[in-house]
Symmetry: C2
Subunit: 414 residues, 2 copies
């Protein structure tokens, strides 16, 4: 215990390491804890995503209509999403940016011409030094957690949802930029009330902002680089998070959980050819933990999360989740903006206090303590909203004016 | 001591208050500790700024030439500045944005149309509740310190440097968004080497990013709001920081120092007509401290900072600083990108560790301890670069390619 407290304290003072979280204390493994059969994986078409299909009407006219407003109907998530969308033209050199990142929120902007160096910068030929430098830079840019891996070819989308064109992304490496969705708000919200989309987009917008700056910086050093962020991804994020050692796949399906943030984060990605040494995947016992827990399945308002065992799906051995039910809840939520109930109730969604860090360390190291930990988490009622911390405004946009909605969030109980 | 540790710890856990720093422990006063004679103050023309004059050649051809490259010559500050500039079209509704924020770095972008509410949102008519809500929102958006004041009419620039037109900004209130320049980097740099501009622009870009989102949010709530950030200010920031209780004016001249960050920060501003209760100025003894210290004057490479007493200048009783000498050093620095030597050597530039917080509290509360504190600060050598923490690349752009510069920073000694 002393060891971890000391090293955590060192990290918090950021004396010897740039990481705000003690990522160096995590157990590393050669392959992700999720079985991945590369040969069986088919590249995913971005248009297969639940939100895109909802917008096209595949889940009915109601969701097709709600899709246009489900983020903008709450003013804070609307403002955050507008900014995230505006970053769409900062992801690469103007010439290389696909037409448009046009979203239902009507975002359009134009990228400044980055100053390109004609040769690679001196002192950037050592992969180990480069990886450390890129992480130091990303932390300087206020990232919460950073990880690096080879870009798995199967993580690249086959086609863009913006123009239906085939995606060509030859980059060798992927840098994951993780941003917390804010513990204080996570402890206050019900999981599916009016702040849910804003929590997603505060992380989407900040991680995208950092990724665009980092990609521009790498291009100035003379290497191709592209930022990938919400509404402008050319890659599927989960496999990158697994290989970069950010977290493990969870019962929630495609949701990756970090030992320090739980599922309470979003990530942007920078892909590049700059030579980088890579991180190794982590194993903090989540596959065992999720098999014993199931709080997310129990509390999911749309019952989209599996209570059962893992299945093989497109080359991944993962817990199945019902994309249509999940999307319908997030897009169609009549009593809130979006839904993050699984994020709210997950026992790994905790603050980074000395107390919680010691519990965290114990759950990671001693499998036998997990059932008791889950029982205590239930007993402490961490899955319930803490109204004393609620700070946001419940607002719904009706006829171009904001009104007080009669309900704020709901659990399966009501 | 127990008291402050408890309250600091509470704040860090963010249980009862949103503020990451214990701003509620500061002594508040009715007026800024700097004598301000409102009647004597003439509105400042943005074109009177040192950088603008350097760009126009008022300080000679060499600085006129260097002005075009002094930020972009280092790749990280170049990338950060490009992003900060691109935010220039996100500060207000497109119709209200003055043509261009065109900078020497060729920034241009286009703002998305914010969704404007036709009526003010319900639950936004109580100034006290609004001020708390706006602060909670700004902290949710990852601000480091937030303060609110009435917008002093004399803080508004008379004319824009972008188009020379008169500025009309009738807003009643100003919200200050403060972002740290990163202690770890501040402890590593010499004060005037190649990371200096990047430290300024990591704070300029992040505070501007947050301010643009916050202004958009306030507009959606039905109130006019404009973000002001580096390269797109319509207001002079220092008087706003004084009235909003962010800090006190220092020996460095127009530089405001925070008790928690020292001079190691930049701020963006949101001006609005949303009814807001205001903060009161703070007094942590800086006027007395600066009169006893003078480390910034002693270490300033261009000797731009006064060793003497305050003078009256345009209605402010302040320490004089030589704008031309300061600008010449920052724009013309041949051994670095920019200069922040005064930020580096200021005894208030410290990390937020329990040890430094206790010293900080002692220096704030007991004037008699200050000379000893300054002597200890010298003894500990905090003004020296800590090479063990250096992480950035020293690079200079020559003939459109980055090269290793022969020198990295210099103090008055060499």
């Amino acid at each position: 215990m002393t060891r971890i407290f000391t090293s955590d304290f060192r990290d918090n003072c950021r004396k010897n390491r740039p990481d705000p979280f003690p990522v160096h204390t995590l157990d590393r493994v050669d392959r992700p804890t999720t079985l991945i059969r590369e040969s069986e994986i088919l590249q995913v078409d971005e248009r297969a995503g639940g939100f895109y299909r909802a917008g096209k009407g595949e889940f009915g006219d109601h969701l097709k209509h709600e899709y246009k407003r489900f983020v903008a109907k709450q003013p804070l998530s609307g403002a955050l999403c507008t900014m995230a969308g505006a970053l769409g033209h900062m992801v690469d050199e103007p010439g290389k940016i696909e037409e448009a990142g046009k979203t239902p929120w009507g975002v359009s902007s134009w990228a400044p011409m980055p100053h390109m160096s004609e040769t690679t910068a001196p002192g950037t030929d050592n992969p180990v030094a480069n990886a450390l430098h890129i992480k130091e830079t990303a932390y300087f840019l206020r990232s919460d957690i950073v990880g690096i891996c080879k870009l798995p070819p199967y993580a690249v989308f086959s086609h863009s949802k913006h123009n239906g064109q085939q995606i060509h992304l030859p980059h060798k490496y992927a840098i994951a930029i993780v941003i917390d969705q804010d513990w204080r708000t996570a402890s206050a919200f019900s999981g599916n009330d009016w702040i849910s989309n804003a929590m997603s987009f505060v992380s989407y917008s900040h991680s995208g902002f950092i990724a665009c700056i980092l990609a521009d910086y790498i291009r100035r050093l003379g290497y191709p680089a592209r930022a990938h962020h919400a509404m402008n991804y050319q890659v599927a994020v989960p496999p990158i998070l697994l290989w970069a050692g950010i977290g493990e796949m969870s019962r929630m399906g495609d949701v990756v959980i970090s030992p320090f943030l739980g599922p309470r984060f979003k990530a942007a990605i920078v892909t590049t050819d700059m030579p980088l040494s890579i991180d190794r995947p982590i194993d903090f016992g989540l596959q065992d933990f999720c098999s014993k827990c199931g709080k997310c399945a129990e509390h999911c308002p749309s019952q989209a999360i599996s209570y059962g065992d893992k299945i093989m799906h497109n080359g991944y051995e993962k817990w199945e989740n019902n994309v249509e039910k999940c999307t319908a809840m997030r897009v169609g939520n009549p009593n809130g903006s979006g839904c993050g109930t699984c994020i709210k109730v997950c026992p790994w969604n905790k603050p980074f206090t000395p107390f919680h860090r010691s519990i965290n360390w114990t759950l990671r190291k001693f499998p036998a303590t997990r059932r008791f930990g889950i029982w205590c988490d239930d007993l402490m009622g961490y899955h319930k909203p803490d109204d004393s911390k609620k700070w946001w405004l419940d607002l719904d946009l009706v006829n171009n004016a904001f009104v007080k909605p009669d309900k704020s969030g709901f659990s399966r109980k009501n």
